[in-house]
């Protein structure tokens, strides 16, 4: 399903503490752990053509390593999906919130474990992490929290 996005773009430069959202929670604050300036864009998108509107906000942060983190939050401000792409891995504990343990426990019980791919596909969370050192990418979302009509294939 393709949809047309109507975008409202807000650019702001945040100095100091950056608000990163935790998956499944309200936006959280990384506090003093990150002190670099970052650029954030906020996009409000709505789907058209199907009659079902999906309204959500995307917060984009560029870490000083160059890694881009996107967080998708619904109308209530709850983050339902996150993604990352770039030369360093972001703090997944903060980014995934209480779903972080799903990733670590899944990795521990994998048979014939590999070293470059990680896929968690549970009813409460989907986590996809892949790439290699200096080029990481991943996505995570909560299937039950997706806005109606949201296509996870559209997560950048």
């Amino acid at each position: 399903m393709r949809r047309a996005f109507s975008l409202m773009l807000f650019l702001s430069l945040l100095q100091g503490a950056l608000a990163w959202a935790a998956l499944g929670s309200a936006p959280s604050n990384f506090g003093a752990a990150t002190t670099q300036s970052r650029q954030a864009s906020r996009l409000a998108a709505s789907s058209t053509g199907t009659g079902a509107d999906a309204v959500y906000t995307v917060t984009q942060s560029t870490l000083d390593s160059g890694t881009v983190v996107r967080e998708y939050s619904d109308a209530n401000g709850t983050v339902f999906a996150v993604s990352w792409k770039g030369p360093t891995l972001p703090d997944l504990r903060t980014l995934l919130g209480d779903k972080f343990t799903a990733m670590t426990s899944n990795a521990a019980r994998r048979p014939k474990a590999g070293h470059s791919q990680l896929a968690v596909n549970q009813s409460d969370v989907v986590i996809v992490s892949n790439g290699h050192m200096r080029a990481y990418a991943g996505q995570a979302w909560i299937p039950g929290a997706l806005p109606a009509g949201f296509d996870t294939g559209s997560i950048e």
């Binding site: 870490l63 521990a108 994998r110 070293h115 470059s116 791919q117 990680l118 996809v128 290699h132 050192m133």
Partner: protein, 567 residues
């Protein structure tokens, strides 16, 4: 007085005193020498034809020599005895008259002197003049004014007057290549000396097996042995079963596998504190110290490079920063890693690069003191570095060769890791195609009509990892368990579009493999079927039956600058 000689090369003999007697001088002389016989001069030259610079022998005798003696003139000079021989050197081209005058009587020997043929010249060059036994040199030679050449010394036989030859040494030593070339102008000789030193052993074995003791259930994990030494000393230890990983950069060793006597020195961050490092892999993290070591594999040595000592027990590194453990599971144990360490030999020279040198990037390098660590900048030279880039030679990349593995799999496989690309006879790109990677170390794989622009070749991934919801997954996910072996194909395209090619590959049922199989054509999912992944991970099975070259970033080989793969 000029004489005309009918045959220029012949001796000209004129008896002036008896020659007609018409001159007034002769008449006068005749009136005064009635009682004395006129001198009779006989002079000859040998040879009568020669070239400039050659020796001519003059022989003469005078009958009835006058008391005033005889004088040489023409092409020679001075007073000479009434008989004798003398050698002279032929002068410029032309007709040379050697005249002898005795008491008013003269006679000459005439020699025809021609220009000599030019002397031959010969030159030899060796490029390069100094090689190892694993290299070749090109011997080029040329000559002038020569019609034939003969080799001697380290080569032999008749040679063309110009040419070149490839020299493949069979032993170390100094070898003199001499060449003697002859022509009408003589013979010239030249030589060149080739210095051959014993080649470094630039290769080491790769073993795919069931892993070190204490590890279970590994598949498609390529292991190598690595020797680490305290810098500048012979205090060394060889670690076996280190994972060979083209998807990471730098050497990471479990502290539990290192002898305490190694006592590798700590490395400091930009701020001067003990450096801690976090290695982040998709499956988890490794936390530990940055320490300095000489790293040796085969005869190649990376001197004084930074490595990670995973789980280092030093007081500075006792607590794992949360921004490191936030990468997921701790894989810094023998059982979790499935290896005693990771040898990262991918296309980049450091594990982080310029961004970590410029700023304190969270989650990579830390300044540690008394168990408390904070992110810090790390100069490039002190970052955990790809050992290949730090070798003194064969440092532009590597070649991995592995035997083929069929759909039934194998219980163990032996391959070869060869350092350098196009530096020795055993690491030359032959029929392989060059696939440029982008700045992230990726290229594009197109599979079932979809292009995955962040695809890569990774010996540290133990399968082909790609999205295909039509292939049945094994229970528990991750790997594919098709009912029968699948024959699939994909197209890889260089990041700069300069090359593309189709790869055929198999995926077999992971679960139905015999438990003793450690090398197999297995694959797995890269994530949810509804995600928009951009990765096709060509893991270890890709290497089976191939020669895969890795050329480091910035290295120029075969007319192309890395990072690139060739296979």
């Amino acid at each position: 007085m000029k004489f005309s000689c009918l045959a220029g090369a012949m001796l000209c003999l004129v008896l002036a005193a008896c020659g007609g007697g018409g001159s007034s001088a002769s008449g006068t002389a005749a009136t005064t020498t009635l009682a004395t016989p006129a001198p009779v001069i006989s002079i000859s030259a040998s040879p009568t034809a020669t070239t400039s610079g050659q020796v001519i022998t003059l022989s003469w005798s005078v009958s009835n020599p006058p008391s005033s003696g005889c004088t040489a003139s023409g092409a020679w000079s001075g007073a000479v005895a009434s008989s004798g021989t003398q050698t002279v050197t032929a002068g410029e081209a032309g007709s040379a008259s050697y005249t002898l005058s005795c008491g008013g009587v003269s006679n000459s020997a005439v020699v025809t002197v021609s220009t000599p043929p030019p002397s031959p010249t010969v030159s030899l060059t060796l490029a390069p003049a100094s090689i190892t036994t694993a290299q070749t040199s090109t011997l080029s030679w040329s000559s002038a004014n020569a019609t034939s050449c003969t080799a001697s010394g380290a080569w032999s036989g008749s040679k063309a007057t110009a040419g070149s030859a490839t020299i493949t040494p069979t032993a170390a030593g100094n070898f003199t290549y001499s060449l003697s070339c002859s022509g009408d102008g003589g013979t010239a000789s030249g030589s060149a000396v080739l210095s051959v030193t014993a080649a470094l052993n630039n290769s080491t074995a790769i073993l795919v097996d069931s892993g070190p003791s204490g590890v279970n259930g590994v598949i498609n994990v390529p292991y190598v042995s690595v020797t680490v030494c305290r810098p500048g000393t012979s205090t060394c230890q060889t670690i076996d079963h280190v994972l060979l990983d083209t998807g990471s950069y730098g050497l990471r060793l479990l502290t539990s596998q290192l002898d305490s006597t190694l006592a590798l020195p700590a490395v400091a961050t930009a701020s001067g504190e003990d450096a801690g490092a976090c290695g982040k892999f998709i499956s988890g993290y490794t936390w530990g110290a940055v320490r300095q070591a000489d790293v040796r594999i085969a005869d190649e040595v990376a001197s004084g490079i930074s490595i990670q000592v995973i789980g280092d027990s030093g007081a500075s590194y006792t607590s794992t920063p949360s921004s490191c453990s936030s990468a997921g599971a701790n894989i810094g144990t023998l059982s979790a890693l499935g290896a005693k360490g990771i040898l990262g030999v991918g296309m980049f020279r450091q594990d982080c690069g310029a961004s970590c040198a410029n700023a304190a990037i969270s989650g990579v390098y830390y300044a540690c003191a008394s168990g408390s660590c904070a992110p810090d900048a790390m100069p490039l030279a002190r970052q955990i570095g790809n050992p290949v880039a730090a070798f003194a030679s064969n440092n532009n990349g590597l070649l991995i060769t592995m035997p083929a593995v069929g759909t039934a799999g194998l219980t163990s496989v032996n391959g070869t890791l060869i350092f350098g690309v196009n530096t020795q006879s055993n690491n030359t790109i032959a029929g392989e195609t060059l696939y440029q990677a982008n700045g992230s170390g990726d290229f594009t794989t197109t599979y079932k009509g979809k292009a995955y622009s962040a695809s890569f070749i990774d010996s540290g991934s133990n399968g082909y990892f790609f999205p295909d919801s039509s292939i049945r997954q094994c229970s528990g996910g991750d790997f594919y368990c098709p009912a029968s072996p699948l024959s699939l194909s994909a197209v890889n395209t260089a990041a700069d579009g300069s090359a593309s090619g189709t790869i055929g590959f198999n995926v077999v049922n992971m679960v139905s493999l015999d438990s003793t199989i450690t090398a197999a054509q297995v694959g797995g999912t890269v994530g949810s079927s509804t995600s928009s992944g951009t990765y096709f991970d060509w893991g270890m099975p890709f290497f089976y039956g191939r020669r895969v070259f890795v050329v480091l970033e910035g290295a120029s080989v075969a007319g192309k600058t890395g990072p690139y793969w060739a296979y």
